[in-house]
Amino acid sequence: MRARFVVPLVLFVALVGLFAAGLKLDPKLVPSPLIDQPAPRFTLPKLSDSQASFTQEEFRGKVSLLNVWASWCVSCRIEHPLLVELAQSGRVPIYGLNYKDGAEDAKRWLAYYGDPYRSSAHDAQGRVGIEFGVYGVPETFLIDGEGRIRYKHIGPLDKRILDEKILPLIADLEARRS
């Protein structure tokens, strides 16, 4: 009599385990197929000077962060102080991809909230965003010295992710370069 109940019970427990694991996953966090791939080739005007060009060559030679942001993006305001602080520490250069934004709005936003970016590329149409697989703002890419994307963070950055994932990864990549 006992044996007959064991099999369905085991199956049920296994199913519960599977569902429990599944509920922890967030479908909004779509993994990027671009990890370990070279950053897409692109040319965009710089936000600060529309006559100057920003290309993927900007990333070469050192580990850097590329932060996708926009003046219309509310979540960006949440992570921005963290980026400003990080830029001030000089730990890692931060580049900006200004996504589907008006140049004037963007510049005004930076003037008000602070500009942590060594340079911002102005992607008015969002075309380069598509090349990077951007589907929301903000997103942050970690790019190594060879110009390869090594990590992508979806949503605003927080101190925990920075300390636990990103900064160690930066240190690791820099160590590998030398």
Binding site: P33, I130, F132
Partner: protein
């Protein structure tokens, strides 16, 4: 009648309110575009396809698909373009790989397993059939016993 016409207008305008219409060479091209757009998931409103969603990203990607079609890209190239940047999750019918094997085979396997289980339960509940041979043997034996029980009593009377 007077109320229906303005209402019809309202519905007609609402259908593609956010989109500039795309130009197609012919109906077949438009059909192809719709098909491609409905195969791709909108990552912003994840329950809608590129065809249905009004999200800005969906509009951008529809434009991208349309442009690529005009440039002569094949279905495979267009799908490949989107999955190379956004991953397999963007496909409503992901390729069959080791990682997606359970996704595709799961329902079929569960159906088989459930069916086998149900079969066992049903078989257990059916009463055991006596074979007809045993029936007739038992009946014959019973008849013989009854016959021998009557016969001696007749012989013993004098």
């Amino acid at each position: 009648m007077m109320r229906i016409v303005p209402l019809a207008w309202l519905f007609a305008l609402g259908v593609h309110a956010a989109d500039a219409p795309f130009a197609f060479k012919d109906g077949a091209q438009e059909e192809r575009f719709r098909r491609l757009a409905s195969e791709l998931r909108c990552l912003v409103c994840q329950n809608q396809s590129l065809e249905d969603s009004n999200a800005p990203l969906a509009q951008d990607l529809r434009k991208e698909v349309h442009e690529q079609m005009q440039k002569g890209a094949s279905d495979r190239e267009i799908i490949g373009f989107v999955t190379a940047r956004y991953g397999d999750f963007v496909l409503y019918r992901p390729p069959v790989k080791t990682t997606t094997f359970l996704l595709w085979a799961g329902p079929g396997l569960l159906l088989l397993a459930g069916g086998a289980f149900a079969w066992r339960v049903v078989k257990r509940q059916q009463p055991v059939n006596r074979s007809s041979e045993a029936d007739s043997d038992t009946a014959r034996r019973a008849a013989e016993l009854l016959a021998s029980a009557r016969a001696p009593a007749r012989g013993k009377r004098s």
